[in-house]
Structure formats: structure tokens, C-alpha cells
């Protein structure tokens, strides 16, 4: 049934003359190159956050400040970065305190800083480049399906952030011991995993399946060299 249904679509594609009349505007091409450059920059900066010696961190901090300013000018929300920073700070510092005691807290703070510096370029990329353009650029080096998965994952991030917040709030209202006050006690951490992380994973699986079906119904994977909307 699917094969017959797709026949008309294939004829339709032939009729439109794919390949020969692919006249993409220079502005669109430029946008793709800018996205490619952005991807390389993000990869470089995020990797650097983990690998460069401490003495070079101020330079990286400066780069990330520029990215934050640029991201904010593109309507990015600072609240995301602040929340990630605070969550990282609480979890990492608590772990350092529990495992190494008070003496290693400065190392813990440095680890938090490096994680934040690795996160900011990714945030900036999601704000400044469209997911579909990132997907297009990724097809230059990856199979189409992999590029789609990465682009779709980036698109789903804001949705999953909202889901995470709402599930957390629902469970807090149901009396779960997962408010910041309760989470000071590590014995309550499994409750966070049970009643927030597991339901979130279930939602993620359901959503992934629905997106996959929606993509397949619109001929995703039928052509090895798809064209791109600009």
C-alpha cells in the first residue's frame, strides 16, 4: 500500500525536475556556511572548556560572554543558563563536599565553571541557528537520518525542558520529597529519579516515536539526497 501511495509522489518529484533546477540563492548558501562555521566554533569552544589548562580559562570566559551577549540579542533567555548553572552548582558542590570534604570545594567550583562554559556555546547555537539549517549542514558530513536525529533533538530540547518543569511541579504538589529543601538530603534523590526522570523518559520515548511516525508519513528517508528549505 505504501509503495503504491508513494508512486505518485515519485512521479511528482520527477515532474518538478529535481537536481537540474536547484537554484539556491546566495543568501541561503551564505546562511548554511555561517551555520557550518558556528557548528565548528561551538565544537571547538565546548571541547576547550574541558581540555584547556586553567590559565587559559579567562580567555574562554571572554568568548562565552560574547556568545551570551549575542544570544540575548537574538532573544535567547538568560534564565536557561542561570538554571543550568544553579543546578550544576548544587549537585556538583554537594557531591564534592560529600566525597572530598571541604578542602576540595574550590575544585568543585572549577568543575561547575567548566561545565557551564561547555554548555553556553550549545545554548548560543540553538538560539542563533535554526534546527533545520543545522540539519542541512550536518548532512554534509553525516548520513541524512543521523543529521535529522540531531536536528530533531535540538528542536525538542525546549519542549522537554517545559515537560521536565511541569512534571517536577506536579509531583511537588503531590507531596513528592523533591523540593530544594528535601533534596538537601541525598536519601531523597531516588525519589527525584522515580517520579520526575522516569516519567520524563517515558514522555521522551512517546514523543520520539510520534515525531518518527510524523516524519515517515511525510516521506522522510525516501530520498538519499533531499533538498532543503531556506
Amino acid at each position: 500500500m505504501q509503495v503504491k501511495g508513494r508512486r505518485k509522489a515519485t512521479e511528482y518529484r520527477r515532474a518538478t525536475g529535481s537536481g537540474n533546477r536547484c537554484l539556491e540563492g546566495s543568501a541561503a548558501q551564505k546562511s548554511s556556511f555561517v551555520t557550518a562555521a558556528s557548528l565548528i566554533l561551538v565544537l571547538f569552544l565546548s571541547s576547550a572548556a574541558f581540555f584547556i589548562p586553567d590559565r587559559y580559562l579567562p580567555g574562554l570566559i571572554l568568548c562565552d560572554i560574547f556568545l551570551v551577549i549575542h544570544g540575548l540579542s537574538r532573544r535567547g533567555k538568560l534564565g536557561v543558563i542561570v538554571r543550568v548553572f544553579l543546578v550544576q552548582l548544587i549537585i556538583t558542590m554537594s557531591l564534592y563536599y560529600l566525597i572530598h570534604g571541604q578542602g576540595q570545594l574550590a575544585q568543585g567550583a572549577l568543575a561547575v565553571l567548566r561545565i557551564l562554559l561547555a554548555f553556553i556555546p550549545g545554548w548560543w547555537l540553538s538560539v542563533s541557528c535554526r534546527a533545520e539549517r543545522i540539519g542541512e549542514v550536518l548532512t554534509w558530513i553525516l548520513p541524512v537520518k543521523w543529521a535529522f536525529v540531531i536536528a530533531a533533538s535540538i528542536r525538542l530540547l525546549p519542549f522537554m525542558t517545559v515537560e521536565l518543569r511541569e512534571i517536577y511541579q506536579i509531583q511537588c504538589l503531590r507531596g513528592a520529597r523533591i523540593t530544594p529543601k528535601f533534596l538537601r538530603d541525598p536519601r531523597n534523590w531516588p525519589e527525584l529519579i522515580n517520579c520526575v526522570i522516569f516519567p520524563l523518559l517515558i514522555q521522551l520515548l512517546k514523543l520520539s516515536r510520534q515525531v518518527a511516525v510524523a516524519a515517515q508519513l511525510r516521506y522522510f528517508g525516501k530520498n538519499k539526497k533531499p533538498t532543503h528549505w531556506r
Binding site: 501511495g5 505518485k8 512521479e11 511528482y12 533545520e132 503531590r174 507531596g175
Partner: protein, 456 residues
């Protein structure tokens, strides 16, 4: 399973049977259906009757084989819009979303724009191609999903339960689109709980029940509730002074010029179109909406904040199955009772009263949509909260579950719980005490209630 081409019909199912597992009952039992050019068929039936499975079978999305024959005429293209448009979007902007199928068909970019614009015109969506999808209303999003199918010119369009998702404006917009498509000889197959809403465009109604597809409409027991004319007023549990509701750094979403109160034992419907701000208002009342300007609001005499009300306030958000996580229904029901130190047998008693006792040992994740909905609501009801906030608690429920939810709400209100529930439709035949109407950017209480109170 056999697939043959026929001339007369675009689509024909001939004695198709299907089951999900070899030991499970038949979801579809010798179902036959024919669809010709330009026809509109509506398949209705209770929740879990197999309506969506039938659409998935037609689209070839089921992983298991079926018995019988599915005939698709040569060259016929099918398009499917699933229930919730929000989970089907692949791209971020309107143009890119509609163009997705064209990309996969390798249509050159210079031909895409015209085709995308034409598809958007067919659904009456006149917005910028670069407009972010998140800025569209739910009705517009639904039409966008239809455009994303129309762009590759399907002969048959399948729609999965559009009515429950859309407000009245959205349904009216959809109706005009369907009329246009019929006029263009596009065939339509829609599955729907509420077939009456599509009376104007449907040529043939079918009911799917116990796996059998027969001509006609599914009829469930009529809903009969008494609308209380006078409610004995208990204490006020929620009070608003006049306010402007606005998100930070944005202009007001809506205004309220009057003093609003919710009393013990009341059921108040908060009615407004999709996107009017109902969900955000409910979250603000529960103290979990962080990015809105402070409201002059007192709930149980306190300024709302997450976690301060304990078991006295319950909130059921949309898609309540998200909150289920325990291994059994009984454990799920007992979770909050344990945390708030309340008697655990409240859960057993409520499950018995709701006729869900047999589900106790089952995993909540194996239940039907309606059952999950009811369990999530019951887990809040077992706490006997003083204030219960429900965000569109009836969405997607068939009449049987609809009645059971109402019975539970009426019982809670009789025990003194004040209930505020949101809906995108008026509830004139339901046992609500009164309504708060949110329209044209103004929130106001339906007139009459306070008068009757004063007279009483």
C-alpha cells in the same frame, strides 16, 4: 494481508481484522469500508475502540500484520494528521514545516515556495513563512499540519480526533477547510468522539464498537446531571482583586475588572478559547507559574507558592498521564496519601467507588487513556483537597469516562471541595455552579450566581 488495486474506490478495506498481540482480542473484526473521490467518512466509537488503529492500519504504520484485504487505487496518495499537532512538528517555522515533505521528495527550493504558499492558502493560513510555529494558536497549528499534508497533494486525508483539541473557533476554521477540500475532490476520513460536530461535511457515519464497523453513530447513555440552582455558600477559599494578567516584559494577556471568589463546594468552569491564558491562570493560582507579574490573589488565605498548601490544594494539568510513575495503580493512588500522612485506605475506597478496583494491581502505564486520566484525577481526589484545580480535565474522553469524571467531581464538591476547571467550551449542560468567562482579553464571572446566593 493482501493489497490489490481497484478502479471504483480510492480506498477499500475488505473484511480486515487486526489484533495487537496473538492472545489479545480483535481490535478490528472483519472491517469493511470503501472511500470514493470527494467523500467524507466519519468513524466514531468509544475510547479504545480501535479508531486510531484503523487509521494507522490504512497508513501502513502498524508493526503487526492484519487479515483481510486493503485496496488502494493505483497512484493514490494518503495524508494523516494525528491527534495532537504539537507532537508532530518537525521544524520551527511555518514554511519549513510545510516544506518538509517536499524536501524529502527532493523538490528544488525554487519550486518549494510556491507550493508551500499554495498549501497554506488552501487551509486559509495567511501568515509569514518565517513565523515560529509556537506563536500560532492550536487551531492554526492544526491547519498547518493539514497544509503540511496537502503540499504533496494527497487524494485522501485522514484526521484523528480533531474536535477534542480545538475550541469552537478552531472547529469552525477546520470545517471551512474540509468543505474546500471536498469541493476540490479530496476524500476525507476522520475519526471522532463527537461526530455531530462534523454533520455538515460528513457523507457517511460509521460506528466502531467491539471491533465491528457498522453504519451509524455510536450512542452512549445520555448524560444527566442536575445543574444546582443554589449552592450553600461555605467559606471563600480563593479570592482575586481586579488584576492584569501578563507575562514578564509582555503586554497584558487579559484583564479582570471585578472581584472574583471561589467558595467551598462550588464547581466553577473557567471558559475561554485555546491560548486565552486559562492554563497559566490555574498554574498561578497553584503558585507554579513563575514568569507572570504578581497577582492580587489569596488561596486559602495565603499567597500561592509551590509546596505551601500540602494536601489542601490539588492541580491536574493537561495530559495527566505524565504524573504516573508507580508500579501499580494502587501504589500510584497511595503515593500522595503516604507523603501527606493520610489514611491509605482512602485509595482502596475511591477505586471501589469508581469501579476501578480490578485495576489495582495493573501498571498505570498499561491502562487506556481514559483509565489513566481517571486514576490521575482519583489520586488527587483521595486527598479530599479544599481546592481542586483542573486544566481541561475532560479533553479526549468519551462519554462514558466523561460521566465518571463528572460523578467524581460532583461527589467532591458535595464534600466541600471547591473546584475550578478550565475548558475551551461552555458547560451549560454540566453541573457547574457558574462560569468565569475569558474572552476578548477580559475575565469576568457569569452573572446570576451572587444574586441567587443573596436571595438564598
Amino acid at each position: 494481508m493482501d493489497m490489490v488495486c481497484v478502479d471504483m474506490n480510492l480506498l477499500k478495506l475488505d473484511r480486515v481484522s487486526f489484533r495487537y498481540y496473538s492472545d489479545s482480542p480483535l481490535v478490528l473484526n472483519e472491517v469493511s469500508l470503501s472511500v470514493r473521490k470527494g467523500e467524507c467518512h466519519c468513524i466514531n466509537g468509544p475510547t479504545g475502540s480501535g479508531k486510531s488503529s484503523l487509521l494507522n492500519l490504512i497508513m501502513g504504520c502498524l508493526s503487526r500484520p492484519f487479515d483481510g484485504e486493503l485496496h488502494i487505487a493505483d497512484g493514490v496518495v494518503l495524508g494523516l494528521v494525528m491527534q495532537d499537532p504539537n507532537v508532530q512538528f518537525i521544524r520551527q517555522s511555518v514554511g519549513a514545516e510545510v516544506a518538509f515533505a517536499l524536501e524529502n521528495l527532493a523538490v528544488p527550493y525554487d519550486l518549494m515556495v510556491g507550493k508551500v504558499q499554495a498549501a497554506l492558502r488552501r487551509v486559509g493560513l495567511y501568515v509569514s513563512l518565517d513565523m515560529p510555529i509556537e506563536q500560532l494558536s492550536l487551531g492554526q497549528k492544526y491547519r498547518l499540519m493539514i497544509a503540511a499534508q496537502l503540499v504533496y497533494e494527497p487524494d485522501i486525508l485522514l484526521l484523528d480526533e480533531p474536535w477534542a483539541q480545538l475550541d469552537d473557533t478552531g472547529v469552525e476554521e477546520l470545517m471551512s477547510v474540509l468543505r474546500r477540500l471536498k469541493a476540490d475532490n479530496v476524500s476525507i476520513v476522520l475519526v471522532e468522539h463527537n461526530p455531530a460536530a462534523f454533520d455538515d461535511v460528513v457523507d457517511q457515519f460509521w460506528k466502531l464498537q467491539d471491533g465491528k464497523l457498522t453504519s451509524g453513530c455510536f450512542e452512549s447513555a445520555p448524560v444527566s446531571f442536575t445543574r444546582p440552582g443554589y449552592v450553600p455558600v461555605g467559606k471563600s477559599v480563593l479570592a482575586f482583586e481586579p488584576f492584569e494578567f501578563c507575562f514578564e516584559e509582555q503586554s497584558p494577556l487579559f484583564l479582570c475588572h471585578e472581584h472574583l471568589e471561589l467558595f467551598e463546594g462550588e464547581i466553577v468552569a473557567l471558559v475561554g478559547d485555546n491560548g486565552a491564558g486559562k492554563s497559566s491562570l490555574l498554574k498561578s493560582i497553584a503558585g507554579i507559574q513563575s514568569n507572570v507579574r504578581a497577582l492580587p490573589l489569596a488561596v486559602l488565605g495565603k499567597k500561592p507558592k509551590l509546596g505551601i498548601f500540602g494536601s489542601e490544594l490539588g492541580l491536574l494539568l493537561q495530559r495527566p498521564n505524565r504524573q504516573l510513575f508507580e508500579n501499580t495503580v494502587l501504589e500510584e493512588m497511595q503515593f500522595s496519601l503516604k507523603r501527606f500522612g493520610l489514611p491509605l485506605d482512602n485509595a482502596d475506597r475511591l477505586l471501589s467507588e469508581l469501579g476501578l478496583e480490578h485495576l489495582k494491581p495493573h501498571s498505570p502505564h498499561t491502562l487506556s487513556y481514559g483509565q489513566q486520566h481517571l486514576v490521575a484525577l482519583a489520586s488527587l481526589a483521595s486527598l479530599k483537597p479544599k481546592v481542586l484545580l483542573l486544566d481541561d480535565p475532560l479533553a479526549g474522553l468519551d462519554q462514558a469516562f466523561y460521566c465518571r469524571v463528572w460523578q467524581l467531581l460532583v461527589r467532591l464538591s458535595q464534600q466541600g471541595t471547591a473546584i475550578l476547571l478550565s475548558s475551551h467550551r461552555q458547560m451549560s449542560h454540566m453541573p457547574v455552579t457558574r462560569s468565569w468567562l475569558l474572552s476578548d482579553g477580559v475575565l469576568q464571572s457569569e452573572q446570576g450566581f451572587m444574586d441567587s446566593v443573596n436571595v438564598g
